[in-house]
């Protein structure tokens, strides 16, 4: 995956398949301690111990359309290649948490990418899921909560061009404001 946004787009599909109603994506970056942490939490169906222990194994998948499952393994590989780590916690019927930590200044840390598109496209496909994106830096923090946005948009479609552009501009402006890493 070329960007962290691509990873998010990918991992969030796992939560969608797990029938989560709330998905939180949290980016926590710290220039002083040189880390960039990505956390994805959901309240989906969770995994048994056996499944969660194998989740980051590329030759393990819960699907039957193909024999490999690369989503989490690629994220793990990228995090470890960028001087970081990967962890996963899951409990059946409670949900799953994924955390990938990167060294912020590392050459191999993928850029954040267009996280606004990731958020928008995921929401468009899954309007019933509450999708929260939170980005924290030393300068402050910014949160996009689909529940708030959809309530505000009451009566207007999310795809309406002006609305879509407005929402994306709003996210971009705020990420710029807190000097989020590109």
């Amino acid at each position: 995956m070329k960007t962290i946004s691509d990873h998010v787009l990918d991992i969030v599909q796992n939560s969608v398949r797990a029938e989560a109603t709330l998905i939180e994506i949290i980016v926590d970056e710290d220039k002083k301690n040189d880390f960039y942490a990505l956390k994805i939490n959901d309240n989906g169906c969770g995994m048994s111990r056996e499944v969660s222990q194998n989740a980051a194994n590329p030759f393990f998948t819960s699907r039957n359309t193909r024999k490999v499952g690369l989503g989490l393994s690629l994220l793990k590989q990228n995090a470890e290649a960028a001087g970081g780590s990967f962890q996963l916690w899951s409990e059946p019927r409670k949900g799953t948490k994924v955390q990938a930590v990167f060294q912020l200044s590392h050459y191999d840390r993928p850029p954040t990418g267009d996280v606004w598109d990731t958020w928008f496209l995921t929401l468009l496909s899954n309007p019933a899921i509450r999708l929260v994106y939170k980005h924290q830096t030393g300068k402050g923090s910014f949160t996009v909560d689909s529940a708030e946005v959809l309530e505000m948009l009451e009566g207007v479609r999310l795809q309406q061009k002006e609305v879509k552009d407005g929402v994306i501009e709003w996210i971009k402006n705020n990420l710029e404001e807190i000097e989020a890493s590109k």
């Binding site: 599909q13 193909r66 989503g71 496909s125 795809q159 609305v163 501009e169 402006n173």
Partner: protein
Amino acid sequence: MTKIKTLADLKKMKDEVQSKIKLRENSDNSEQVVQVKVGMATCGIASGAKETMKYFVDELEQQAIDAVVTQTGCMGYCYAEPTVEITLPGKDPVVFGYVDKEKSREIIDVYIKRGELIDGVIPLTFKTIDD
């Protein structure tokens, strides 16, 4: 226009837009709309499915074609990603492979608007996946 910084700014913008546009009737009847499913599993995303989906969302909106664009999982055609499944009203789903921007434009112009089939269909007895 001033910069959109807060949710309140966004609401202001939305209210302006709302007063201008004639609300398109939101057809909840999925029988009547074109369904576009973009394969967005790891294989699709790695091949650029995000750009493909963005293109479909923007272009169908621009051309005022009643359509629902959603993400779907891996259909098992990883070699041909990005893949897009199109269901025209009353017809069986058709899956296209290697759908980049250029191909997306062709699909919209020829298949969705005129109903004529084009190259690039993944044949096989295809069944839509529900998961």
